[in-house]
Point group: C2
Chain length 318, copies 2
């Protein structure tokens, strides 16, 4: 009943300064050898600079585009839209609590005012979208075995995910799989393509990111094109919109997007790397996320869902 | 490739104005008869008024305390802390992205400066906490059958949750169960008790709410005492703290909490009601959350996790 040690209260899974070395997930990540990290090519990064905040502080968001075989029609379009500087001057138009932040052309539905899209964008039909999933054949890999070994997914335990027969990690990404298909899943910070009613699948000019409980019901319904690897807090902390679906009701509520560039166009951008999901370090990290028992955790969970094992991503150390 | 219909893009699960009546989860909620709603007693609400925002707008957060048999030692303490006006003048001290917002006494760890707790708080030991879970014997009810009937949980399908043998809803709350115990689970907006290392279990003077992917690993490790039923956006949109664990580094970054009162002490507070989880309407709503197929959703998920079925709560219509 005496003074509360505020700084130590509710030590989170990813940081408990007082736990012995090797005991926490963050300890495992910190101790991972350089060989267990994979560098992300700057040409696969999209750097989105929002207008500075009310105090004049810069707000930079860095997105990593998802690699083949996923969503390549849309990521190709995004590269063209960046090249055409189409994204410069659009805005964050929607923030719906526990769901998504969305950005696009605020005048997109106003005939005559809508920003003209560049020529050469790839048409992405619903049929094409579903086919792209069916064709996604990443081979079973050490990543998958690692996640399964930690008792975290379907191998040897059936149906431990509501939304996919098996969830796993492959090439650094959270993936849902069935016997015939693989697809990226809607975890916190994943970036997807806004679209209208089916069969529209969107172009990639309107994007959103997840800011709440993973809306996994969107898996296989909307194309995911990447994830936010830096600056997520600049989007997740924006004021919620008060209109239907969290759209802002007044133009001045929107956050302007000043410029969007590919990472290799941005001087001084740090290099980023992720903890390789086929590494022993990742297996140990995932296992610790599922089975933590220490001075804080009394009751280990014994399992963990795919969106509760965020892939560690950091500025490269050298 | 023409102008984008921004307002209709990415129609969320809970609102699709263009879908036929009865087709969406929100349609089902809207159509639920009055008898399917349960009024929440004002005496079970905690009304927390934050300092107005930068534009002078009020920021009110309403918390519903969890009913027996859960966490009654802590909710009893919270009632005593409110009665003593102990919470008045504390602050939001921590905002960690995709994890929690936490409020308490900013000087809690400064000897001599820490706010003195009122007498008569109940000691809540680790042993007592675990025991309180084991003793929680809500009988199997229509709520449980409803969630199971929708194919959403363990009945007839084994282990469809990473963190509990069975998840369900009971008396309006998301609940994890085993053969011998039941416990509330850490979904978005749930409110829990900050604590130090075990065997400390916290008093209830330091509280947090979930603002990201459900940190279910905290289930059975930290006492949950309620959930936020109104004003969540005032907490989830706060700037993230830049110190370790998301604590604010400077006092002026904290959001002051001006007053905390029980609902029955607040003149003009609306009455609130939740969709009874043992109602046919809730069963239909949960089923639709799991199996949506319409003009937007091409591929029904076929399942849903317990934290992706937010219990509908609204101001009472009469």
């Amino acid at each position: 009943m005496t003074g509360l040690a505020v700084a130590a209260l509710l030590a989170p899974p990813l940081a408990a300064a007082d736990a012995p070395a090797g005991r926490t997930p963050s300890d495992i990540v910190e101790a991972a050898p350089a060989a267990d990290w994979t560098r992300i090519a700057a040409s696969d990064l999209v750097v989105m600079d929002l207008a500075p905040d009310a105090r004049g502080r810069a707000r930079r968001v860095v997105i990593q585009l998802i690699p083949a075989p996923f969503s390549q029609g849309w990521t190709g379009n995004i590269r063209k839209l960046v090249a055409a500087r189409w994204f410069d001057g659009i805005a964050v138009v929607r923030v719906q609590d526990n769901y998504v932040v969305q950005w696009g052309d605020p005048d997109g539905e106003t005939p005559g005012k809508a920003k003209v899209l560049p020529k050469g964008l790839q048409a992405t039909t619903e049929a094409g979208y579903v086919a792209s999933i069916d064709k996604a054949e990443l081979t079973a890999s050490a990543d998958e075995a690692n996640f399964a070994a930690a008792g975290l997914s379907g191998k040897g335990r059936s149906s431990l995910d509501h939304y996919a027969p098996l969830t796993t990690f492959q090439a650094g990404w959270p993936i849902g799989t069935s016997e015939t298909a693989k697809w990226p899943v809607h975890c916190y910070g994943m970036v997807g393509v806004g679209r209208n009613l089916s069969p529209d699948t969107g172009t990639g000019a309107e994007l959103y990111t997840v800011i709440g409980q993973a809306p996994r019901q969107l898996d296989r319904n909307i194309a995911l094109v990447g994830r936010i690897i830096s600056g997520m807090e600049h989007l997740s902390s924006l004021p919620r919109g008060t209109g239907p679906l969290g759209f802002y009701e007044r133009a001045e509520e929107r956050t302007p997007i000043v410029s969007v560039r590919m990472g290799n166009e941005v001087p001084g951008l740090p290099a980023y790397e992720y903890l390789s999901t086929d590494s022993a370090s990742f297996a140990a990290y995932a296992d610790k996320r599922a089975n933590r028992k220490d001075d804080f955790y009394i009751q280990p969970a014994g399992g963990v869902d795919v969106c509760n094992v965020p892939v560690p991503i950091r500025e490269a150390k050298r």
